[in-house]
């Protein structure tokens, strides 16, 4: 398993206020990495910098060993699923997924077939001609994923995609995202503020606070050996309290 993405000494500030301070980490090929932190910790900014829709002040981003720091977002071989999905409301499921393919000379001819195939794979074959507002939150998310996958990226980024969904939906969708990952064999970087979500889905978790990485390790390690008091409180104590409260109320 090689290194897919490597970030070195990344820094960024907004109006003199540092948001990311000297961030360095690497993501393995095919890995599911969660970036976990409270709001304002810099995790979303980091994601936007990785895909290239936000500039940065210093540092380098390598993908497959190549420096992509100044590449155009659409030339990075990455996709992103936004918090609110940002599906095009005037287009059907098929049109949403096909749209970008029509502007790609290499894939223009097979746009429809490629889109149909992906829509089938994410389980939306029945909804082809529906518009986004006729779909459930979970289905909308799958369209958003399909739309990014259509351009066959090898990394997909997620910006808190579950925050608009109810608890029951979240559980199924976590599984679905993992299914899609194994089906397409892609690397996923998943930004969230939800400890449970990060722990149930990830191979590794990166805990962030105040624009810095506090810990980057497997869920087990983060839980049992938190790097400092903050991680201990934010992760271990939080999860234990949750477990205890469920035990107390259900007697399980």
């Amino acid at each position: 398993m090689g290194i897919k993405l490597s970030i070195e000494h990344l820094s960024k500030s907004f109006g003199g206020k540092p948001v990311l301070e000297d961030i360095s980490f690497a993501v393995n090929d095919g890995e599911f990495l969660s970036i976990l932190g409270a709001s304002g910790c810099g995790k979303t900014t980091l994601l936007r910098i990785l895909i290239g829709i936000e500039g940065f002040d210093g540092g380098t981003i390598y993908k497959d060993g190549k420096n992509i720091s100044s590449a155009h977002p659409s030339d990075r071989g990455m996709g992103i699923v936004f918090q609110n999905y940002a599906l095009f409301p005037n287009m059907t499921v098929l049109q949403n997924v096909m749209y970008a393919l029509k502007f790609d000379p290499a894939r223009r001819e097979h746009a429809r077939d490629i889109a149909l195939d992906i829509i089938e794979k994410v389980g939306l074959g029945e909804q082809l001609n529906k518009k986004p507002h006729k779909l459930s939150g979970g289905q909308q998310q799958r369209v958003a994923i399909a739309r990014t996958l259509a351009l066959s990226p090898d990394i997909v980024l997620f910006d808190e995609p579950m925050s608009a969904l109810d608890a029951a939906n979240r559980l199924t969708l976590r599984r679905e995202i993992k299914d899609i990952q194994s089906k397409f064999g892609i690397t996923m970087i998943y930004v969230t503020h939800d400890q449970e979500e990060a722990f149930s889905m990830s191979e590794r978790i990166m805990v962030m606070e105040g624009g810095k990485i506090l810990q980057l390790d497997t869920p087990k390690e983060v839980y049992h050996h938190p790097a400092n008091d903050f991680v201990h409180n934010f992760v271990t104590v939080h999860l234990e309290e949750k477990i205890r409260s469920i035990q107390e109320s259900t007697g399980v």
Binding site: I51, I53, I80, F82, A86, F88, N90, Y99, F103, K131
Partner: protein, 530 residues
Amino acid sequence: MAKSRVFSKSVKFLLIAFFAVTVFLPLAAMFSKVKLSAIGGILKNPQFGKTVLNSLSVTLAATVASVLIAYLLALAVNRSRIPCKRLITVLATLPMLIPSISHGLGLTNLFGYNGLFTKLLGVESGLYGFTGILLGSILYSFPVAFLMLSDAMQYVDATPYEAAEVLGVPPVNRFFTVTMYYMKRPLVSAVFAVFTMVFTDYGVPLAVGGRFMTLPVYLYTEVIGLLNFSKGAFIGFILLLPAVITFLLDLRKKESEGLGFATKRLHIKKNRLRDTLLGVFCALVIGFVLLVIGSFAVMTFLTKYPYDLTFTWSHIQTVFSRGMGGYFRNSLIISLPVAAIGTAVGYITAYTTARTKNALVAKVLHLTAIASLAIPGIVLGLGYVICFSDSFLKGTLLILVFVNIIHFFSSPYMMAHNAMKKLNPNFEDVGKTLGIGRVRLLWDVFVPCTLDTIAEMFGYFFVNSMITISAVAFLYSSQTMPLSLMINQMESSMMFEAAAFTSLVILLSNVVAKGIISLVKSYCKRQYAK
């Protein structure tokens, strides 16, 4: 990346250049005409102080009455269980489809020396002067306030009302604590909008003002009649003042906007008394509106009201023999391009200001776009005539098109701006990651998602260009005169029947235009809901 940057920069540059030439240059030209010596002369004249007082008194009275009527109508449409609310809205806004001078004309038909009611009751006409201007200005301005207030009431959240009821807050206190919290801003906006409209209108006072001189009529006669531009410019400056104050107040308010949309619709309880009272009120207001408009038909088809009540086509023939066909064509040749170009420019400006993050240029453009609201048509027209009188634009249809675009720019611009603010803020980012340019996205996503707004913008530009007599009054030539100004001419030569028919034609064109727009909008809605 570099290519699209250059493109968006040049669009912004073009827009700024456009506004510099069409807004700032004419205003600067007007101000440069204000001479201190002339100001002294004007101020010393005792007639001038009287004119200012006249203007203020009648405008204040009309504003209070208009907003009160508008508020009650808005209550009827949004807070009662009376039937036919849609019809009430349509009928109550009919006065927006005719020129301001036509309202004066309608009142003359009803209450003038030979008016229907004057003859019926056998009394002397007390219309001309303060009363006439007051009534005409109310007719002219209450629909605008009504739409503003009704729109605001629609989006009031029901939860605070329910909470107040549960807590046992008495209705009077509920009104001051809950209702006023939501309606304060819309009310202030409506008051300022009506004040500015009435304060700067010359159409109504020209028709029914008699010897009661107001500032806009003073400016109109000084400039049109005496070609006294420096005097006109100073009066123009005074007319600009309330609008500028409004604009500055509005600016402060916009910064902290954000009442959002209703989370819960208000449940309207059964209340016979309330519904009866509001229903009667609606009937009275609409009855009056229909009387005024109906009087145009009576005047058009009767030989000589009230002396000869036989049916005739002769008035229509007179109007046609005076070149109505050509003036009507002028009106269309002006209004359609105003609607098309205005909508396009407004839409692109709105896209630039609503979808660009933290750029200084975007803010400047936004301010300029809403500032055009603060410039009364009569002042804008004066600026244009001073600024472009020596240019190739003089006496062309093109200058009429441009002055109207700027005069009516602000409202449609805001429609587009608000519609685009409501669209997902991540579309451009999605576009970037998918390799789709901004222009492509604008065409494929933004335009289809906002088609109903675009139709609404088009309609607004069209209707207002058809009825305007303000800015264009200084800029037309005998070749380019629009239909609305024909009313001015006929009114001044006492051809009331011909003027009535002309008003009727404008009304009908606008009703047709509105009808088409509402069909397009409902088609868009159905398309979208598929």
